[in-house]
């Protein structure tokens, strides 16, 4: 048993951010274990992805390049990865905790009856084992989980690890045949409707969020303006989503998205425990609220006690001026 593997998620020939972070984290684990780092690339016309994986520090690339792998279908990718893991016996298999990475690691673990820890936010090595720190109970507690025997399968949450850096490395990828023939894959991807170029909440470096204090759907206008000035994504508390002021896809919190941006600006958000569960790992939190007793101030690095309808537009103006 040897080797640290990273499954590379990609789009339009480029490695996804969450996979660059996985490569960065895996490099550290490989160094601690004294083992090689292998990137696993699956898809169709993916030689440029393999090249990029070498450039981002992979010692080796193994993969499969086939039309049947063009769409991400679990019945094709799952058995392929599981077969490779069974045959080559790596110590650790890492993926990003994106929907695809999540599903794929779950599949491999189930097919191989192996141990798997999802949603890692920190990794360490103790006694030759990978220790994965992950949030449990909706982020209200943490757990240091360890796979007790066999291959250790892990997926890592977006924005929790520094991405791998370009090394200028290159090499020859090793390509294998797909595990499942097209006619044996029951699923067909009929269409994909792109949501456009909106900044996704979980990948955003900056999030500006509005809460009950915005008062109504039009109250999100200044929030959006500030987000635009900062190139940020727009978040929302559950109360505003339940009230129908903004669509659910913006909800941050226990039954919404869990986010971890560099900067989280909470405007008119009191900071209920369910909201905190979704954003408390943000690097810098700014709270803007008329109520100085609001729980959000206990979490915040910076606070402004004041009306968001005064403070947020002033901030937009200030950032537009400075950021040009």
């Amino acid at each position: 048993m040897s080797g640290v593997w990273v499954w590379i998620e990609h789009q339009d020939g480029k490695i996804a951010g969450v996979s660059l972070e996985a490569l960065g984290a895996a490099r550290g684990i490989a160094a601690s274990l004294g083992e090689d780092l292998t990137a696993v690339v699956t898809g169709h016309d993916v030689s440029s992805v393999a090249d990029a994986a070498f450039n981002y520090g992979a010692d080796a690339v193994v993969g499969s390049d086939d039309p049947s792998l063009a769409d991400f279908r679990l019945e094709a990718h799952g058995p392929l990865l599981a077969g490779l893991v069974e045959e080559r016996d790596p110590t650790v298999v890492i993926a990003g905790a994106s929907p695809r990475g999540h599903d794929l690691t779950a599949w491999i673990a189930a097919q191989l009856d192996a141990g798997q820890v999802p949603d890692g936010i920190d990794l360490g090595v103790e006694d030759g084992k990978v220790v994965v720190t992950r949030p449990v109970y909706a982020g209200k507690l943490l757990c240091d989980a360890v796979v007790s025997d066999g291959v250790q399968i892990v997926n890592l949450r977006s924005r929790a690890f520094a991405p791998a850096e370009e090394t200028g490395g290159s090499g020859e990828a090793e390509w294998v045949e797909p595990a499942v023939a097209e006619e044996d894959i029951p699923t067909e991807v009929v269409s994909f409707e792109s949501a456009g170029s909106q900044v996704s909440l979980t990948d955003a470096r900056i999030i500006v969020s509005g809460g009950r204090g915005v008062g109504g759907p039009e109250g999100f206008e200044p929030i959006r303006e500030l987000a635009q000035a900062l190139g940020a994504a727009v978040g929302a508390s559950r109360a505003t989503v339940d009230a129908g002021w903004i669509p659910y896809e913006h909800q941050v919190g226990q039954t919404g998205k869990t986010v971890s941006p560099d900067l989280y600006i909470a405007a008119g958000i009191s900071g209920a425990i369910q909201h905190q569960a979704g954003m408390r790992t943000s690097k810098i939190i700014v709270a803007i609220n008329t109520d100085p007793e609001a729980p959000i101030f206990k979490l915040a690095s910076y606070g402004v006690v004041g009306d968001l309808f005064d403070v947020v537009p002033a901030l937009s103006e200030e950032f537009r001026r400075r950021l040009g």
Partner: protein, 266 residues
Amino acid sequence: MKVVVCVKQTPSTTAVFSVENGSVNWEDPGGKPNVLNPWDEYAVEEAILLQEEHGGDAIALTMGPEESQEALKTCLAMGCTEAVLVGGGDFQGSDTLGTARVLAAAIRKLGDVKIAVFGKQAIDGDTGQTPVQTAVKLGWTPLTFVSAITEVDEDAGTITVERLLPGGKETVTTKLPVVISVVKEINEPRYPSFMGIRKANRATIPTWESGDLELEGAAGVEASKVDWSNVYELPPRDSEVELIEADTPEEAARILADRLFEEKVI
């Protein structure tokens, strides 16, 4: 058509947690510490909608301790036609893989199930892995992050769904039977009706134990491949809030912008 909805009883969303000697405890200020996992409400609703449209059964299934009956009663009160509890000490401490083996065995025992519906994840373990793993154990196709079931063709044995993925919406068609896990966008869960609650309270929910199932592989704490025992409370955020003192919003904005540039987060 026989539809199964796999649910879990979890701590409420308002529960406050503490950890003592490695054991997790919680209390709820509202006095209702355990609920049907909030994500599962959407799965239950979708199972009932499928039953209403296609006839047959919508069976609620859970693996858990005796008190998980309460979650199943919520499912019955909402409109599920039957409920089954899979319990007993042998399954206690199962990880997602053990749980998947047990649920797969229970679904096989129910027989002729076409669709097994799950919520996105449970708000306690928060892994979101059980639907895919149950599908693998059944040899069925998993469809995750489903935001709409657009067509179920029982005669052709096919299902078409929309999946909400980062960057867009994917439409896929596959063969029945399937395991699907649903996201919040799929529906608006109904509230239990008064009649439903009365019916649920009178219902006798069967309990299946390990002897009742043909389990492939083991479940329970011994079979778990992951040691999850090291659970602890979050370290407090070390930052003390700096309140920006200013006479005007413009001045506050200027000072705050200075700080944020100094922090290098802009």
